[in-house]
Structures are given as C-alpha cells and as structure tokens.
Amino acid sequence: MSEAALADQSLFAQNRRAFLLRKLHSLTGVAPVGAFMVFHLWTNAKALQGQEPFDKAVAEITHTPYLAIAEWGLILLPLLFHAGYGVKLALDAKYNVSKYKTTRNWAFTLQRVTGLLAFAFIAFHLYEYWGKKLTGKLAPEQFYPALCQNMSATVKGIPVVGLLYVLGIAASVFHFANGLWGFCFSWGVTVSRRSQQMAAAVFGVLGVAIFLLGANTAIYFATGSSVQDMIFGKKGGSDARTCVDILQQTQKPASVGPVID
C-alpha cells in the first residue's frame, strides 16, 4: 500500500478490521453491557422493599414497547459479542503473573479470569430466569418467590446459590470497574501516570459501591435480611410480602435468619 493510500484511510478501511473489532469490544463492555449491569443491579435492589415493589418494577420492564428487540439488540447480542471476543482474548494471553507480580499484571490477569467467571455466571443466571421465562416455565410474578427459595436453600447451613450469586456479582463488578479503567487507558483518556492512578481510585470506589448494591440484594434473598437490617435491625411498617413471609408460607424455614454476619 502506498504512503498516500495509508494516510488517507476511510473510517472502516479493511486493514483496520482488528482495531475496529477491538474498539467495539471495548465499547460494548462499557455500554450497553456494563451500563445494563448497573441498571439491573439497581432495579433488583427494589426487592429489599418486598415483592410488590419488585413485581411492579419487573412489570414495567416487561411492558416496555419493543422489549424483545431491546433485549436482543441492546443486551444479548452486544453481550454475546463481548463475551465471545473476550474469551478469545482470555485464551490469547500468555499469563506471567507468577513471575512479574505487579498490581497491574494482577489486574490484567484478573480481568480475564473474572471475564470467564462472569461468562459462566451470566449463562447460569440467564438460564435460570430469562430462559425459564421464555419457555413459559416461570411467570414474571414467580421470580420473587423463586429467587427467595433458590438463594436461601442451604447445604450444610450454607446458602450455596446465594453465595454463588455474591461471587458472580463480585467477579462481574471487578471486571466492569477494572474494564472502565482499561477503557480510559486504551481510548487515550488517561495518558499520564497520575491520571491513571486517579482513575484507579475513582473506579475502585465505584466498583465497591456497585458490588455492595448488588451483593446486598443477593444477601437479602439468601438470608431474609439485608445488610442494613442486620446492622440496624429490621424496620417494620411496610405491608409488602417479604422473603421471610414467603419462606414461612411454603414451610421452608430452613435458613431464615442471619447466616452471614
């Protein structure tokens, strides 16, 4: 290719394919996939107020116009692309964190490990709820009781599924927060080392906050109490149906109560 031709590239020139794909991967990670995850964890937190507010939020989403197009076009396809290309990236790297043990090399490694964990977790989670909704095995109103029951079921006193959710959320959120840091680097937003350190602090705090938001809901489903309930005691007053009510009704008292201190 001549010099002039090289300097005169159009936006989607053929030789830029790898670059554009990678940029698309990066972009899809932040939005829609990442943005959706934050929105999703936020909506889920309504569960803390009991079944009725939660069902209302679910119903609102269920009645969004063009839901199927939005679900597929804005969430699933971008996620599939990001995840598929992400697996390729995870397999392409030659890891060496056992030799070069720096924080950033750990972050690099964990970015890929948590990507794979998020992949497994999201597949499991989608199968359990979205898949069963599509096949008619689970109506949206059954989500709440199903969540309470699944996550609180214990094996030897440990709410295994609840714990799995906390870990899955931890992996996804680390992946997202560290991904945002990487996004800022690879798009040339943070060029100086100082700005990179500041970005690490900001996204670190943001990540912890998103994790607490998400994990709290899972803890609530698993134990019947949110973290704030455990610290400040339960607030009475609301008449919405809670997980405790549901588990009493179905006579599965097994693990209600603060399993996690």
Binding site: L6, A7, F19, D92, A93, Y100, S186, V191
Partner: protein
C-alpha cells in the same frame, strides 16, 4: 581476565543452572544442566558463562558441549545478551553475581521465551525487526536531493524525546508482555514507543498518519492489555506506558476525526 589458578584460592563457587537445547528442531534435547565455576571479582553472568566455556563440565562431572550465548557491548547498550535470569528477563552483562547470588545461591539462566530458539541461550529476535518495519520506525529521507538543514528543535522537545530514543531492541519488554506471543501479531511496547518517538520528530511527523495507521491495523496498539509489565522490565527506563497511552490517544483521535479531516 584473571587466570583461574589465582582465583581458585578463594574457593568461592558460582552455581549456574542453564536451560539448554541443541538446535531449534531438536526439542527433545531440551534440558537443564548445572555448572559450578570459580568466582571472580565483579563477576557477571557473561563472565560466569565464559568460565563454563573454558571447562564445560556439569556438576555431576559430565563433559558437555560449551553453552552458547550472545553478547557484544558488555555494558548494557546493545541488548544482545538479554536472557531470563532467575525468572526475570534482563541483560546478562549487567546481572552481577554479587547482587543476585551473594551467598552462592543457584542462578537459573534461560533463553527468552517469545522468540524462536537458535541454540542454548541464543534466540532469534527477527520478529522485533519486522515489528519496527511494520510501524515505519524511521524517518524518510530518500537522499535524491538536498533538503537543507532540518527544522530547529527546542531543548524541551529534545529532552522529552531523548529517553524514548534509548531503546536497544533488547526484547525485555516483549518477553514480559503477556500480549506478545504466537497467538497475536502485536508489534509490542517498544515499537509503539518508536511510533511516538518518530511522530514527535519534526521530520518524522510528516508521516505521522501513515505511522498511526500501521498501529491501527492487525497487531496494533489495540493489542496492549494494559498489564504494564513492559515498563517494569525495560532496562533503559523508557516510559513505555506513557508512549502507549499517547499513541492510543492519537489513534482514537484519528479514528474519530481522521475521516472528517481528509
């Protein structure tokens, strides 16, 4: 070099464990061999290997072919002697025995892993030279006509550029880079640094876009995974991460606005 009779008196030995292979097509000859050689004052890994060469006998008394390696300047400016010493990539000529094995510890010496092996500690760094070609790591002067004096440079610009120009293509950065391997065509941190260096040069800047375009292709700047190992191991302390970040920013600008400004 001191002759071995005068130094044998000290009794101190240097213990080397060397990864060997006879030729690229004989992977079955891959093996570890251990040598103990007399210590010499201010010994580095090259002089230790020279002692092995004098008397190539392993610790179990087996006579073997001498270990081969590459070196030239012996003062950490040519990069030829790069190898993996105690798990970390560095120059053998500046790896001092007193520092890495003050109490006679075993010193493990291996060839770099990111390049085709030639023999023992010698690898073929050809890929790095191809990377440099790919990114147009030069300034175009075809010599057909008189260009006159080049543009004047401010001392500030010079000071910024000088550290970037110290690269000796030694391979440390790509050896430590998890993204530089057989599964990718990544040009590597050193090449991205050269893009920044030549794009900053007043004459080199004339081909800034062509150079940028090369790192917006297969194996370009997008392949950096941000592990920042490169900057940790660069013996010339080149601010590689700053260079990658700068090239990333230039690439983003070109992606977003390049087509508008045609």
């Amino acid at each position: 070099m001191a002759n071995s009779d005068t130094t044998k008196g000290t009794g101190r030995l240097v213990h080397l464990r060397v990864k060997r292979q006879d030729s690229p097509d004989l992977p079955e000859t891959r093996r570890w061999e251990e040598f103990k050689v007399p210590y010499l004052p201010q010994m580095n890994i090259i002089s230790a290997l020279q002692q092995v060469q004098k008397e190539p006998r392993t610790v179990d008394g087996k006579d073997v072919a001498p270990v081969v390696w590459e070196s030239s300047c012996l003062e950490e400016v040519c990069g030829a002697c790069t190898m993996v010493i105690n798990g970390r990539v560095r120059q053998a000529c500046s790896a001092l025995v007193d520092q890495i094995a003050p109490n006679g510890e075993v010193i493990q010496v291996e060839p770099m892993t990111k390049f085709p092996l030639v023999r023992d500690l010698i690898v073929d760094r050809e890929r790095m030279f191809q990377d440099m070609k790919k990114v147009k790591a030069w300034i175009d002067i075809d010599g057909t006509h008189e260009l006159g004096p080049g543009p004047r440079e401010s001392p500030e610009a010079q000071q910024e550029r000088y550290p970037l120009s110290r690269c000796m293509t030694c391979g440390c950065c790509v050896e430590a880079c998890p993204q530089y391997n057989d599964s990718t065509q990544f040009v590597g941190p050193f090449a991205l640094n050269l893009v920044r260096l030549f794009n900053m040069h007043p004459s080199g800047a004339l081909h800034k876009n062509a150079r940028l375009e090369t790192v917006m292709g297969e194996g370009g700047v997008q392949d950096c995974g941000k592990s920042q190992n490169c900057v940790e191991v660069c013996p010339k302390e080149i601010p590689l991460v700053d260079s990658i970040a700068q090239v990333s920013r230039d690439a983003t600008k070109r992606l977003l606005f390049g087509w508008l400004l045609k």
